[in-house]
Symmetry: C2
């Protein structure tokens, strides 16, 4: 079967097939689908059809489907299975997938599964369950091919063969010393071309790309990206090989982190909610951010009223409130986005933050002067009051410069206090920025008029 670009298999087709009762056709339809596509199909398949389709899947297929399904649908699939069958499904999974899925199951179901699977597998899975989901330990799988330094190429192939049933996919073998310490790696593309009697230790690549189980997944992804890796070894503090993280998990991390940052910047949380239909839940996640905006907006309203009270004869001042507030917000979110993105990709860290601060300040003040002049000139043309025009232009320049500064400092501050910096480009900070800009405008007006 050929998969090219986007295939959208139709849940409707399957529902019609099930209705037709043609078992051979249903079976063929399911066999031709990649588990990832079947999972997408299940997402839109009417729930009544789930048991009627699952009965046509074998244990390995259910296992694949379980891995690929969205977190919130896994329980529903698990509930369709008999306890024995559920245990079999988990025995088919790689250790990292099993741990991920078990972590999401209701407690009693998870316990039953853990008790059912063989001792050795259970120990592996329980060890993995101890790591936080967003760490290297949470991503790694224990299935891998490890060969001693002193093995020949021929022996390495034998070792690979003996574990091949458990290791779903491998692109390299890990070379270890007698103590289990990782000493090198050997790509299959080199192994396959070597003479059978060559020692693995003589071929091994000694550049080690390693992470530790508690390392953040974002750091792992950054390493994979920088060094173009297909997998990363996870080692403990003594350098002993614990597991490996494969390319596909890294791709998922990159997507997840990008989505998380982007949604946070818009004041939406928990990306997984985005694609469900739980309208109330989504609204309740977004509302707190919006209420904060309401609060900030009302403070701006109070400030605006202050203008009216302080300068009753100069209500023309009010006409520039929206533009000054909006500009401050925009500049701030430009600067913040660049810093957040820089943190995420590793381009910006504590070492060179000063350089970015200087740069954003330079850009901010430059744009501030240009836009301040534009706005001052507009004010003069509109209201014909040079003093007012001066206040408006100067306030705009200062507001933009200050916003560029806070745009860099706020995400940095969040990072220092260990809050996700992406929040800094979200509605909360943007609203605070608006208030700051209006306060600058009001202050300038007070001083000059």
């Amino acid at each position: 079967m050929e998969y090219s670009k986007d295939k959208t298999p139709e849940a409707d087709d399957l529902e019609a097939l099930v209705e037709s009762g043609d078992e051979g056709a249903i079976r063929r339809f399911l066999t031709l689908l990649h588990p990832a596509d079947l999972a997408i199909l299940f997402d839109t398949l009417d729930r009544d059809y789930w048991p009627r389709v699952v009965q046509f899947l074998d244990t390995a297929e259910i296992s694949d489907l379980m891995e690929e399904l969205h977190d919130h649908l896994r329980d529903d699939l698990a509930e369709l299975l008999k306890p024995d069958q559920l245990v079999d499904v988990f025995e088919e999974m790689a250790s990292d997938d099993a741990a991920d899925v078990i972590a999401d199951l209701p407690d009693d179901m998870a316990k039953a599964v853990l008790e059912g699977i063989p001792d050795e597998d259970r120990q592996d899975v329980e060890a993995l369950l101890k790591y936080e989901e967003d760490t290297a330990g949470g991503l790694m799988q224990v299935e891998l091919v490890a060969v001693p330094e002193t093995a020949t190429v021929e022996r390495a192939v034998e070792i690979a063969r003996s574990v091949s049933e458990d290791v779903e996919e491998f692109h390299q073998v890990y070379v270890i010393d007698e103590g289990g310490k990782l000493t090198g790696t050997l790509g299959l593309d080199r192994l396959i071309l070597a003479k059978p009697e060559t020692l693995v230790g003589d071929l091994a690549d000694r550049d080690l790309y390693v992470v530790h189980p508690d390392d953040d997944q974002e750091e792992v992804a950054r390493m994979v990206k920088r060094y173009d890796l297909v997998s990363v070894a996870v080692v403990n503090a003594e350098g002993a090989l614990l597991g490996r993280i494969l390319h596909d998990d890294i791709v998922d991390v990159l997507e997840e982190e990008a989505a998380e940052d982007m949604l946070r910047m818009a004041g939406a949380e928990e990306p997984e909610l985005v694609y469900t239909n739980r309208v109330f839940k989504i609204a309740s996640v977004r509302l707190p951010w919006l209420l904060a905006t309401v609060g900030g907006g009302l403070v701006s309203g109070v400030l605006l009223w202050q203008f009216k009270v302080t300068f009753p004869t100069l209500l023309t001042l009010l006409t520039f409130v929206p533009v000054i507030a909006a500009m401050g917000g925009n500049i701030g979110s430009q600067s913040s986005t660049i810093v957040i993105r820089g943190f995420a990709t590793g381009h910006i860290d504590y070492n060179n933050l000063g350089r970015y601060l200087t740069r954003e300040l330079a850009i901010g003040s430059m744009m501030g002067v240009v836009l301040g002049a534009v706005l001052g000139a507009t004010a003069q043309l509109w209201h014909g009051d040079p003093k007012l025009a001066f206040v408006v232009g100067l306030s705009m320049t200062l507001a933009i410069t200050a916003s560029a500064l806070t745009g860099v400092l706020v995400p940095f501050f969040f990072r220092v206090i260990k809050v996700d910096p992406a929040i800094a480009a979200g509605p909360l900070v943007t609203t605070a920025n608006d208030v700051m800009c209006l306060a600058i405008y009001y202050g300038m007006a007070l001083m000059i008029l």
Copy 2:
């Protein structure tokens, strides 16, 4: 050497070493660095030191460095090399990297390089140069291991050996028929375990993951992500194998697309500019967006002035202008972000857009009612005018619902007219949204007061 998480090699160390003149130490320092780290080091290394460091690198090392360097620094490196040496550097590169780098060189330099490299390589590179940079053709490399259906495993290994010097890294061999049509793939992890006399055709995996040269890179990345692939084959309309795209290029695409969307949402363009020090250039990229915001902000100012003219005795209306404008903007950018992200990941397309529109409308109107009630109550408490409170609350509800609607429709509209939907969450549309919300508020006030 062990690479773990983030290593920041210090340009200062290298500069000091060069000053010391200790050639052995400089050579050792450079040998121990991964090309990716050397490229980062060059980024901050004082330009005066470049030629003094490059003289210690051999052709292969310069070639790796050239690939890893930021686009805008490649010319500078190329200019340090003699014409012959530059040609040698390109002969070391994989076809895709060579095409990428040549595309960025000044025309005369690119021409000289193309004329210098051997005929066969030149044809490959020239063919790749014809594809757009952000398509599958722009990402693919022609170096790969292709074996006929009828070859034995032993013969396949021989074929791999014969091309191994040109193929930098391979995880599978491509199986082709006599006409060069791709018929299957065979992972090295399966090849290595098979008996030498087995036919490749009997082992091959017949699930083909293929793209065509003109496919957008985002679609390629989506396919890799969905099916957990380590590489993708590129075929022409007849199914003949043209090249392959490796995992590391896909990781770069994912990063690039996420960064592009995020920066566009903040009104910044061309991600590559972000990490340079060209302050004027960056300011000139951002200024047009900001000028548009100034325009929109002034329109809001005019509307605000209309309130004062139309309701001279009801200036308390003005105190709610900031909050209604800010909320509209926020809700709109939440909805837009979700749609933009959904387009990028393939979760949302024309088929299910209706579902998302309904959902965002439901969420929007729900939040609109809650926040409208909150704001109406606040207005009543603050100014003690029930009619005003009603106008404020109702306007808030309508403004939020309308913003949720435009938040979905505007990115969709941009996609239809083939403009990047990410712009829809940018300053331009946010500003337009603010104006729309104020117009709703003004309209309600006109009708009711």
